[in-house]
Amino acid sequence: MADEARKKEIYEKLRNGVIQYDEDACREGAQEALDAGLDANEAIFDGLVSGMEEVGRLFEAQEYFVPEILMCADALYAGLDILKPHCKQMDLGVRGSVVIGTVEGDVHDIGKNLVKMMFDVAGFHVYDLGRDVPLDKFVDEQLKTDSELVCLSAMMTTSMVGMPTVIEKIKAKNPDCMIMIGGAPTSKDLADKWGADGYAEDASNALKEAIKMVGFLKKLRDEKLNKK
C-alpha cells in the first residue's frame, strides 16, 4: 500500500490532468493508482472528479469555455476508463439508473454528454438514448428499465417545448419517477410549471440536482415500505 505522500501525489496528477486537459497524464495517473494498490473509487473522486470540480469553477469564472470543458472531459474519461473496471460496488448513499437524451427536434448533445459523464462517475447505470429522441421513447425506456430518473435535454427554445408532454406522460404512468430538465433555455420557472423535479442549466448543477433527487426518492420509498 502506498504511503500518504505517494497517494496525494497520484491524486494530484489525476486532478491536474483533468484541469489541464492532459489525457496522457490521466491515463498514467490512473495506472499508477492501480499499481500502488489505491482504491479506484477514491482515485476517481479525489482525483478526477476533484479536477472536474475545479474545471466547473474555472467555467463559472469565465476562464474556461466549452472547448476547454470538452477537452477536460476527454481527459477525465481517459482516467475513468482505466479505473472503472476496478471499482467495487459503490456506496455513495445513492445508486440508481437514469434515462437520458436530447429531445426530438434537437441534435445538440454536448450538454447531455457532460451530464451523462457526471452520472457515469457517480456510479449510476446510464441508459443514453442519444439525440433527436422521439418523446415516446423516453416514456417507453423509463417503463422498461424502471429508472428512478429521466433527464431531458434541449439546447434550443424551439425544441424545449416538447418537454412538458414527456413529463406528463411519464408521471401519469409512474408518479415516483423523478424528472430533470436541462439545457440553456430551461429555467426553474419552467421546471415548476411543467412539473419537473429539477432543472439544470449546466452539467455541474445537474449532478448536484440528480443526487439530491435520488436521495429524496429513496426516502419516499423507505417511508412507503415502513407503512406496509
Partner: protein
C-alpha cells in the same frame, strides 16, 4: 409613415416617427398556420405555403416585417445535407440535419462547395417564396431573410463537439473551414438579394460567450463574419444568442448595419458602450416573456427594452409559434404607444 418606410428609414438612420416592432428571425405563429389550414412540416417545402404563412404575422398582428425561411437548414441542404422536416410530428418540430458532411478531421481539408450551389436544395424555392411574399405585402412592410454565420453552419455539417475542441487545438484548420463556410453563405445571401429582400440577418447563434471566449470570437469567428457581411449589399443585422456583452464591440467591427442580441445582454450597458449612433435590436425575450408571460409582462418588457435603448422592439430569437395572440397584440400596441416617446 407605414411599417416599410419606418423600417427602411431606421436602417438608413433617418428620422422615424417611432421605434418599429419587427425582426429578422422566424416569426410565424400557430394562429397564422391554422388560419391557412397548413401543416408546419409542409410550409418548409412549398414556396406558396411558406410565403402565405410568412405574411400572416403582419396580417394578423401588424408585425412590421415578413421574414423567411422558417428553419435553419437552407445552406447546409444546398451544400448536400439531407434534412428532416418531421412530417409525422403532431406538434411543431423545426427541421434538422440528418447526416453530417464532414465525418473526421481529414475531411475538413477536402470538403468543397457544389459548383451550382445557388440552384441546389431549397435555394430556388426560397427565391420564389421571397418574390411571392414581396408581391403580397412588400408595399406595406420590409421583407427580410436570414443566413447562418460561418461557425454555426460549420457546427451543422460536422460534429459540434469536434469543431469546438479543434477551435482550441487547431484554430488554423477551423479558420480555413470557416472561410469556406463564408463563401457558401455569401452564395445563398446573393440569391436572396436577387429575389428582392430588403435586409438580411446573419445568425451566428453558436458563437455566444456562453460557449466561446471573447478572444476566440475576435480571432476566429469575427473574420469570416466580416467577409460575409462585406458581401451583403442590402442592410444587414448580425445576431448572436446568449451572453454577448463582452463581444458587442467586435460584433460592430464586423460591419453590419445593426446588431441583434437577446435577453441575456444588458442592453443599457451595450448602449453606453457603443454610443448613440449604433443600431441595436433585440433583448425582447421571445419565449419567457412573449409566449409564457402575461400581457402586462409583455408591455412592461417592451417599455424596458425601449428605455434601455434598443432601436427596434425585436424578439431575441424565433418567436415560438404557440405565442398567445393577445401577447402579440400587446407587444404591437405597446410599441405603438410608447415607441415614439424616446
Amino acid at each position: 409613415m407605414n411599417s416599410r418606410e419606418r423600417v427602411l428609414g431606421l436602417f438608413k438612420k433617418e428620422k422615424i416617427d417611432r421605434v418599429p416592432c419587427f425582426s429578422g428571425m422566424g416569426n410565424i405563429t400557430e394562429a397564422g398556420i391554422n388560419k391557412l389550414g397548413y401543416k408546419f412540416a409542409g410550409i418548409h417545402l412549398d414556396a406558396k405555403q411558406m410565403a402565405e404563412t410568412a405574411a400572416t404575422t403582419f396580417k394578423l398582428y401588424g408585425y412590421e416585417c415578413g421574414v423567411m425561411p422558417v428553419d435553419l437548414c437552407v445552406e447546409a441542404e444546398a451544400m448536400g445535407c439531407q434534412i428532416n422536416v418531421y412530417p409525422h410530428a403532431e406538434g411543431i418540430l423545426y427541421p434538422t440535419i440528418k447526416e453530417k458532411l464532414i465525418h473526421n478531421e481529414a475531411e475538413m481539408d477536402t470538403i468543397t462547395l457544389p459548383a451550382n450551389m445557388g440552384e441546389l436544395g431549397r435555394v430556388p424555392m426560397m427565391r420564389e417564396a421571397i418574390k411571392l411574399l414581396k408581391a403580397d405585402i412588400g408595399k406595406d412592410v420590409a421583407i427580410g431573410s436570414y443566413v447562418l454565420g460561418p461557425f454555426t453552419l460549420a457546427g451543422q455539417i460536422m460534429e459540434l463537439n469536434d469543431l469546438l475542441k479543434l477551435s482550441f487545438k487547431k484554430a488554423d484548420k477551423v479558420a480555413k473551414l470557416l472561410d469556406l463556410m463564408a463563401d457558401a453563405i455569401i452564395i445563398v445571401a446573393k440569391e436572396f438579394e436577387k429575389a428582392g429582400v430588403d435586409y438580411i440577418t446573419v445568425r451566428e447563434m453558436g458563437a455566444t460567450s456562453d460557449v466561446l471566449s471573447p478572444r476566440v470570437f475576435k480571432n476566429l469567428i469575427a473574420p469570416p463574419l466580416k467577409k460575409v457581411i462585406s458581401q451583403i449589399s442590402v442592410p444587414s443585422v448580425l445576431h448572436v444568442c446568449g451572453k454577448t456583452n463582452d463581444i458587442v464591440t467586435t460584433m460592430v467591427e464586423t460591419g453590419p448595419t445593426a446588431i441583434s442580441v437577446e435577453q441575456k445582454n444588458d442592453v443599457a450597458e451595450t448602449r453606453k458602450k457603443l454610443g448613440d449612433d449604433a443600431l441595436i435590436f433585440g433583448n425582447m425575450d421571445a419565449y419567457n416573456v412573449l409566449v409564457s408571460g402575461s400581457e402586462e409582462l409583455v408591455r412592461s418588457t417592451v417599455r424596458k427594452c425601449i428605455d434601455d435603448g434598443v432601436n427596434a422592439v425585436w424578439p431575441g430569437c424565433d418567436i415560438w409559434p404557440s405565442v398567445p395572440p393577445a401577447n402579440m397584440l400587446a407587444m404591437m400596441d405597446e410599441t405603438n404607444k410608447y415607441g415614439g416617446k424616446k
